[in-house]
């Protein structure tokens, strides 16, 4: 508990200063309030009334509100009232606090009104303020009767419907957040096959949202997340995930920039009695990036690794490379190596490692083909006599079959050796044949994918992966021998698209197909 409290306190310290104000700058009521997400615009038809934060009331036949610029136009029998004073016009253009007001009358043209609405000064060059965009009703993303705008942050629609050619699914309320800031993308929830956020409360520095989720293997889940944001400089995201058929999971994720070149991040998770905490720092040093990651669990395990990595640089003929070195420790109460003769003597093991990565350029061949390759080798030495070596290779090719169809193929290999000099039999004791794993592994994966893309509206990708690993035992080691997968992206309605994927693993000792899937809705 103390560790969790400490992690939470550290995460809070990473954020400052936070200002929270969610007072709406305008409340809109209208016959039809139509929201266009890609222009961040609202068009109101069939009569409109705007209540501005300063107490002014504006009404008319129609309105356009530019959420990005915090500007509005009310047209057709327009009038604005402040206290006892009412001003009539053919159209009114104003910023949302209502401090700047332009008046359009067909007989006199454009004039600028003062704060009391009693004085008008000609302003013939202010036509831009009356630019009413040509937006088509059927392309609206949301249709509502009421909208409440928080300046440069969010807009809340009540009740909201999502019009499509096949109907308009309604919800009682929908909060659309358009504030900028890295923290709005942050999440402390685990990855899910389906995750649909539903905003509840938004301020310029915070967002509270519910998440309707589906996790492969766990089932349906409801997440609740709170994000606190400091522009692009920092955030804190805390979440509780409540699956129907699994224990509750909690998460915390925070980040802050440290000066121009550094960052700090703090994270924590809690699931089914296992609690973890993570603290990470990055610092750019010239063309190098250093990282320090520290992790701890309530099971007595901890680790700290300091690494230094070069950026990708060209070696020759388009071949690029980077390298990294690392140094740190692994610690475990009772001993890092439970199979060692005296495990308690190795409760902390130091390590140092090096990794070298090489990548070929993308080579364009005949018949509209491309080919590229990578090689990655690493060696890690431990203070307890032990070293781990790995070598990975990848070859990826593509061939464009037609304007819409492309074939991809790839072959990956990974060899690793986990070696304990003079003690290999202790750490890898003899086991039955299929588990006969003596510290050496081989993993090979061949894949072929066929992709069909038709403009922005349709994309289909069919994939087959064949894994040949050693060891390769169902639910013990290695990957499923076979996987087939289909990913489809379609846009059945002009304003809503669907993306879904379905995969099957099969071939584990004759086991049945094991399905997995993912799904998302987009605009």
């Amino acid at each position: 508990m103390r560790a969790r409290a400490l992690v939470f306190a550290l995460a809070l310290v990473t954020l400052w200063p936070l200002r929270a104000e969610a007072k709406p700058v305008a409340e809109i009521d209208g016959g039809a309030v139509l929201f266009y997400s890609d222009s961040l615009g609202i068009v109101v038809r069939n009569g409109v009334t705007l209540h501005l934060a300063g107490g002014m009331v504006v009404s008319g036949d129609t309105a356009y509100i530019d959420l990005r610029a915090d500007k509005a136009i009310v047209a057709g029998s327009a009038q604005i009232t402040r206290g006892a004073v009412t001003l009539h016009a053919d159209a009114l253009a104003f910023d949302l606090p209502g401090r700047k007001l332009d008046v359009l009358r067909s007989d006199t043209g454009i004039a600028r009104a003062d704060a009391t609405l009693t004085q008008l000064q000609p302003a013939p060059d202010d036509g831009d303020a009356f630019a009413f965009p040509d937006l088509v009703d059927r392309r609206a993303y949301i249709r509502a009767r009421h909208a409440s705008i928080v300046s440069r942050t969010s807009v809340r629609f009540r009740p909201a419907a999502f019009p499509t050619s096949a109907g308009a699914p309604p919800v009682p309320m929908y909060l659309y957040t358009f504030a900028s800031g890295n923290g709005y993308a942050a999440t402390a929830l685990s990855s899910a096959a389906f995750d649909q956020p539903y905003g509840l409360i938004s301020t310029p520095n915070a967002l509270t949202s519910a998440h309707l989720r589906y996790l492969n293997g766990t089932g349906a889940s409801l997440g609740l997340e709170q994000n606190l944001i400091d522009n692009n400089d920092g955030y804190l995201a805390g979440a509780v995930d409540v699956p129907i058929h699994a224990p509750v999971a909690e998460g915390l994720n925070s980040y802050r920039r440290l000066g121009e070149d550094g960052t700090v991040s703090v994270g924590a998770t809690s699931f089914d009695g296992l609690h973890t905490g993570l603290v990470g720092f990055t610092q750019a040093i010239g063309t190098l990036v250093s990282r320090l990651n520290y992790g701890i669990t309530n099971t007595g395990a901890s680790s700290a690794i300091l690494s230094l990595r070069t950026r990708d640089k060209e070696l020759f003929d388009g071949i690029t490379w980077h390298t990294s070195v690392n140094y740190g420790f692994l610690a475990q109460d009772g001993g890092v190596y439970s199979l060692a003769p005296n495990p308690t003597q190795q409760q902390t093991v130091w390590q140092k490692g090096i990794d070298v990565f090489l990548a070929s350029p993308l080579i364009h061949g005949p018949l509209r083909t491309t080919l590229s390759a990578t090689v990655d080798g690493s060696n890690t030495e431990y203070s307890y006599p032990h070293h781990f070596n790995a070598l990975e290779t990848n070859l990826t090719g593509s061939r464009r079959l037609s304007r819409t169809m492309t074939l991809f193929f790839g072959y990956d290999t990974r060899w690793s050796a986990d070696l304990f000099p003079n003690a290999q039999m202790i750490f890898y004791p003899p086991l039955p044949t299929q588990y006969g794993y003596e510290g050496y592994t081989t993993a090979r994966l061949a894949n072929v994918d066929l992709q069909y893309v038709q403009g922005p509206y349709t994309s289909v990708r069919l994939s087959y992966r064949k894994a040949d690993d050693f060891p390769q035992v169902n639910y013990f080691a290695g990957r499923p021998p076979n996987e087939v997968r289909a990913d489809v992206r379609v846009r059945p309605f002009s304003n809503i698209g669907l993306s879904f994927g379905r995969s099957y693993d099969f071939g584990w000792n004759g086991s049945r197909w094991v399905p997995g899937w993912n799904f998302s809705v987009f605009q």
Binding site: S77, S106, F130, F132, D134, D261, T370, V453, Q523
Partner: protein
Amino acid sequence: MIAAAALAAALTFRVIPLACGPNGLAISGGGVLRISPQGSCASVVPGRAISITLDDQTRVIPQTLDAASHPATEIPKTAFSIAPSAAAIPEGKDITITIVVSIPPSTPAGSDIFLSTERSSYNPAEIRMDQLDARRYRLVLPLHEGGRLAFRVTRGSFTTIERDAKGRLPPPHIATGQAGAILNITVEAWSDDT
């Protein structure tokens, strides 16, 4: 002059009316057009696009919307009783833009690349991109002309979101709605890089 008026009279123009009355037809951009005695405000709904034709004295006659109408910027200046001062106003056409993402060579093989946009509150697995080759992915996206979209690039989760070359979270990319625009993005690094 007469020939120009005759030519204009044969054309229809698309306008967004703001108000219509005895003093004229006020349109988007702040201009006011003179109404022809043959015309009527009866069919004019403020904020909803209509077509207009011009009579022989370049006064307007409101019509139902004709998709083949010319843009309002081509209306002869003589038709206005009060000239508009606004620049050309986007007509809100549906266009497509193309986003091409180049990924680092060290990206794990077989990764799916996603766009995560403000439209979904940045769902990290919102739209799967199409693969061009081993290092580039592409997405053709419908957008309103003049529209705007903020987005991030991920490998499907927030723990695999893009980072810049110094290991920092970059601000979102911004795509703007210009017909045929191609936006090239280079991902320098991923959050889970070691």
